[in-house]
Amino acid sequence: MATVQICEAEKVYIMHGVRDDLRIDGRACDDYRHMEVETDVVSNTDGSARVKMGDTDILVGIKAEMGRPRPLIPDEGYLEFFVDCSANATPEFEGRGGEELGSEISSTLYKMFQNRSSLDLRALCIVPREHCWVLYVDVLLLQCDGNLLDATSIAVKAALFSTRIPKVHVSEDDEGGKELEISDDPYDCMRLQVEDVPCIVTLSKIGHRHVVDATLQEAACSMASLIIAVTHKGNVTCVRKVGGGSLDPESIFEMTETGKRVGKALHAPLMKLLQEEEVLGKRRQKVGFLG
C-alpha cells in the first residue's frame, strides 16, 4: 500500500488542525484539492482521461472490444476493470507489489457499476445472446498522494464520457445468419450516457471529525474511512467501510450525509468541464504530460 510514516507530533498537529476545520494545506474538512481533468490523452484508445488531484495522478484508458454477452444478462454488454499500480507511483509496487491494492480498487469499481442506474449497459448490446461490446476500463496509477478512489472514479467517468464506440450495422443473410459490419467512419459512433455514473467520495475519520480527499499524511492519521459512491442526483450506489479501525453508527450516518452533499456538488463542475472540452473539439489545445 502506498503509505507514509509520520511521527506522533505530526499526527497531533494534523488532528488538531482537523478539529479546528483547518487542514495542513489550508483546506476545510469538506474541501477537495485542486483538480485537473483532461480527456482524449491517449490516441489509440476509444476513450481516455487523466485526472490530477494534488499529487495524485491517474490515467484511464478505455478500449471497446467485441465479445459475447454474459448468459444471465443476454441483452447487455459489460465493463471489465483493471487497475495497474505501476512502479512509477512508488517502488513498493514493483513486480507484483501493487496487485493487492489494484484488485481492491477494481473490486470497488465493479461494485459501483453493479446496478442498472449507473450506466445503461443495454446500449452496449449488438445482437442479444451473441454479440456485445465489452469495455475494458484500464486504470493506471502514475502517482499516489492519497484519495486514489475518488480520483479514479472521476477519471473513469471522464473517460466514459469521451468514449466513442463505432456503430455496428447488423444485416441478415438468406439463411438467417447475421453479418456484422463495423463502421469505419470515426464520426459514425455511439456515445455513452454518463449523467448517472456515480463518483466516489472517501471520508476519513480523523479524531472526532471526518475529512474528504485526505492526503497521504492525513490518511496515516485516520483509522477508518467510509467510501460512498454518489450520483449527481444524490443517490448512493455503494457504501463501504475500509481501514483497520471501527466506526460507530452515528458517525457513519453523519459521514453519509456529508458524502452525499459533497458528492452531489462534485458532478456539476465535472460535467460542465467535460462539455466545454467537447464543444472545443479539435480546436482544444491538448496539454497531456507536456504542459
Binding site: V42, S43, N44, T45, S48, D55, D57, L59, G61, I62, K63, E65, F82, D84, S86, A87, N88, A89, T90, P91, E94, G95, R96, Y136, D138, L140, L142, Q143, C144, D145, F289, L290
Partner: protein, 245 residues
Amino acid sequence: MAGLELLSDQGYRLDGRKPSELRKVQARMGIFTRADGSAYIEQGNTKALAVVYGPHEVRGSRSKTLHDRAVINCQYSMATFSTAERKRRPHGDRKSSEMSLHLKQTFEAAILTQLYPRSQIDIYVKILQSDGGNYSACVNAATLAVIDAGIPIRDYVCACSAGFVEDTPLVDLCHAEETGSGTAVALALLPRGGQIALLQMDARLHQDHLDPVMEAAMTACRSLGQVLDGVVRQHLQEVSILTGE
C-alpha cells in the same frame, strides 16, 4: 511486405518522412514531484514515461548489494491500453523482462555507479502509447529522468531504431515499418565518445548492410542527443527562473 510500400519510388516513407528523418520529439522533465527524477517523451505517436528513485539503500534481500558500485534496477512495463490490441498484463511477460534487462545493461554502461557503493537506483519506464521504437523512447526518457534525479552520468544515452528497406537504411521506425520491414536494429549510443551502450538486431541482414544501418542509427542518435540536450537546458532555465537564481 506485399501491399504495403514502405519506401515509395520518390524516396518517401509511409508517414511522409525521408529515410534519415526522425519523428517529432517532444519531452519534458520533472513531471512528478514525488519521485526523485521523472521525464516524459513523445516520439511521434510513441509515448513513454520514466521515473527514477534513488540512490537509496538496497531494498529486499541484502545479497544483491554490490560493495564497489550501485545496483541498477529497471522495470519496463506497457500500459494495457498502449497497443492496438489490448494487453492482458502490463509487465512480467518475456518481452518486458527482456526489455528490463536491456535497459539495465544500457544504464549500467552510462551511470557512474562506482560513486554509490552499496546502494540502489531504480529506473521504471512505462509505455503509455506504442507506435514502434519502444526501446528507444524508454532509453531517451530514462536518460532525462536520471538527469532530473541528479545522478552523475557519463553522457546522454540516446537510442534509436533503424531498419533496412530496398537497400536504404531507415531510422526511427514506426510500428508499421517495424513489423513490415523485417529487420530492426536498436542502438543506444553515448554520443560524445561514440560508445555503443547497446546494440540489438533480431532479424537477419547481410553483413555488408550492417555498417550503413548502424551508421544511420548512430547519426540519428547524435541528432537525438542534441534534442535531449535542448530539453535539459530549457528545463534548467525554467527551474532557475522559478527558484530565482
